[in-house]
Amino acid sequence: MDNGGGAAVSTGSSAGSRRVGDGVSDQFPAGLRVLVVDDDPTCLRILEKMLRTCLYEVTTCSRAVDALFMLRERKGGFDLVLSDVYMPDMDGFKLLEYIGLEMDLPVIMMSADDGKDVVMKGVTHGACDYLIKPVRMEAIKNIWQHVVRKRRNEMKELEHSGSVEDSDRHRKPSDDADYASSANEGNWRHPKRRKDVKDEDDEGEEREDSSTLKKPRVVWSVELHQQFVAAVKQLGIDKAVPKKILELMSVPGLTRENVASHLQKYRLYLRRLSGVSQHQGGISPPFLGASEAAFGSNNSLDGLDLQALAASGQLSPHNLVALQAGLGRTAVNASMGMPLVDQMSFFNSEMQTANSSKIRYGPGQQLSNKQANVLHGLPTTMEQKPMAHLHLPIQSFGNIGLQANEKSSGFLGLPTSQVRAGSSSHPETIHGHPGSSLLMQTQQRPQVPISQNHSQMHVGMSQQPRLNGQLVNEIAGGHASGLPSSVGQQILSNETVGRVLVRNGSVLNGRGSSSYAAVSQASCIDFPISNGMELPGNGFPLLSTAGLSSFTSTGVFQESVPATGNLEGLDTTTNLKRSRSLVPSYDLFNEFHQSKSQDWELQNMGHAYEGTQHMGSLQGNPDFSPSVLGRQGFVSTQKNEQNNNMGIGCKEMVSLRGDDDRRNLGTMAQSHNNILVDNSFKIKAENVIVTEHFAQDDIMDALFKQQGGVGAIDTEFNFNGYSMDNIPD
């Protein structure tokens, strides 16, 4: 991608020195940082010129994968994305999902196609607008409104929740009614307006002035997510209203709004999973469970997980498919071990930015092929939500593995074997545990002491982490050492099946060493994803497993192990030579066109992650449809050594899996937490493993994606009533 005329850019850039969150820029909307993605060079050039004329800062890409790469590389570096719908390397809607999950940026779709179906797809996938080509200047001039709107909504959410407990209470009845009546996720937004008009007005004023107000985001760590999922389960998905969930979770500082938006995403995710799972024919359910855990914001592991799993080769094609389906998002290219890795790497790269130890996967680098291959099996839908902080890539991944285990026995097998495969080259990889064993463990009881491996990625996904860790371990060929159980934890909460993984990928990266362990687990995940798990671009967890070995502590598990199973991204210091093939993730993406958009936007990544470098917060895309779960397994197995943080990273273990997953996640979460505690550095291997897992996820995703039709995997939560009107804008 090119930036177009350099000279021309400057005019925009000067005005656009403001960054998101920097404060109000009086020149707004000038300086708005827009990323344009269109494979048609003519259109791209025209759009670029139009945007420049509006004094926006423009960056152009002709490929979706490049766009994702850039977005991940520069987290927070863009305000808005304009994307074409029909692109050769990846479906625009898929890209949209990924962006929603990982970065939560407003995305505007464009196409010459103005058919109602297509436009509707845009809506359901969360696009904030849809422009018909040829795009006219008038339309471009006003795109900034979407940025402001989104920020306002987020601010409101934050402020609202923070400052108005009272109003919340007052509203409670109505809120409850709102929520209880139907999965009308969007209600929470409206009520806010209605009820807290006063507060909001005040706040609104502030916000209105500064379109660039920083919106503090809650980072849905794996733990947090797992708590969330547990609460939701306890209440029953239909009755789970933010207020109650919040109460059950009793997390200080968490607002009802945070929960509400997270819930929304989660529901979307689940819906997607259920949709995906149908295709797979049943694989999904397991993942749902995982997804729960992974729902954490960092569930990005989705894709990663799958990939990792896939990578680890543990995932049986069937599983992989399921995962993929579930993940939907991650385009796991079955054939591509790498994709996962790429995804992971992508994620990782993202995460890396967040973390010091970024494992940079050379662009296009893919976890060592062999590793990638490992992941191959796993359709890791590494769709990770923007886990900016996912230090622990491990998250979802771990879950994935876990989940997968149950359902897809094949999976179990996969991860382990995969792990080994990947790990073989790297003794450090999480081999501590025979992959299979780990997987098994994870599945059965999320509690799997992921900690065994390393205090890896605890990734917030309390539930999931385990899985990831497990997976990771397994993947690592049993090097338990490295794989902190946290890896399991990382299990990307597959919730965002596709997404999470992706996110995880990033997370992983960020984490540097963050144990991709989770990833590995993810691979194990029986991704129900059948939908074509797309491994969220996370570099992929699968890769991690593969590369885990090399993940030397540097913890940079970042880039969630490139899908290719190379944890390359993870461990910069270590030998992650495996370049996280970031690219692979694209493959995954492609594959998952179908992945239903699980836009699980975990925007609210648990704060936990913020700190931890690694786990960039599993992008808990809670909405991962079961399939996603697989991916989500955000394996944030952060290398213990470094990370104690890792544990946090994995919070998001997104368990893409279905109900089972959730359960697993739950247990995992717990175990995960435990694991977190022990940050012993074991992870080196973990990280590696994670990647593997992720890679698998990717692979799986790829495999499954085809299958994808996101069946309605509605495992525990019946989101049938889920209204999609809350698609995040």
């Binding site: 005329g5 010129k49 006219r136």
Partner: protein, 153 residues
């Protein structure tokens, strides 16, 4: 160059442009492009048009190859054409765009004959437009750099 000549060149260019609009070869989108042209990009329109023709040549070649296969892969053809249509509409190539729409309809109906016929038409329109625009830009270039768009709006 004498100013009279310049004026003449410009006038000729203007004439071509006018006829292109009148005959429906170009539409308002072309004007949008002209509006985007400014000092920082004095040859923007030409640049974009050149880009388009370079790309469109590929499209046409692809479609050409695809229509020679039997049986016709309508889905693929439709996909190609969709892209081509988007591309042509972005520079305001109205006639070409309309033919593309027609072609797609035939694809959806599975009407191979219709597709082939329409495709011929597309090639024709495309070639005509290309030639005319080439002449147009050439005149403008000759006339001088500072006024590329002959008072387009």
């Amino acid at each position: 160059m004498a100013s009279a000549e310049i004026t003449q060149l410009r006038r000729q260019a203007a004439y071509i442009k006018k006829s292109l609009f009148e005959q429906g070869y170009l539409d308002g989108q072309f004007l949008q492009l002209e509006e985007l042209q400014d000092d920082t990009n004095p040859n923007f329109v030409e640049e974009v048009v050149t880009l388009f023709f370079k790309d469109s040549a590929k499209f046409i070649a692809n479609i050409e190859a695809a229509v020679e296969k039997t049986p016709l892969d309508f889905k693929k053809l439709d996909a190609y054409m969709h892209k081509f249509k988007g591309s042509s509409s972005s520079i305001g190539a109205l006639r070409v765009k309309n033919e593309c729409t027609l072609f797609r309809e035939y694809c959806q109906q599975g009407n191979g004959e219709g597709c082939l016929k329409t495709f011929q038409q597309i090639k024709k329109e495309h070639a005509t437009l290309r030639k005319k625009l080439e002449t147009y830009f050439q005149l403008l270039r000759q006339a001088g750099p500072y006024e590329t768009a002959t008072s387009s709006h």
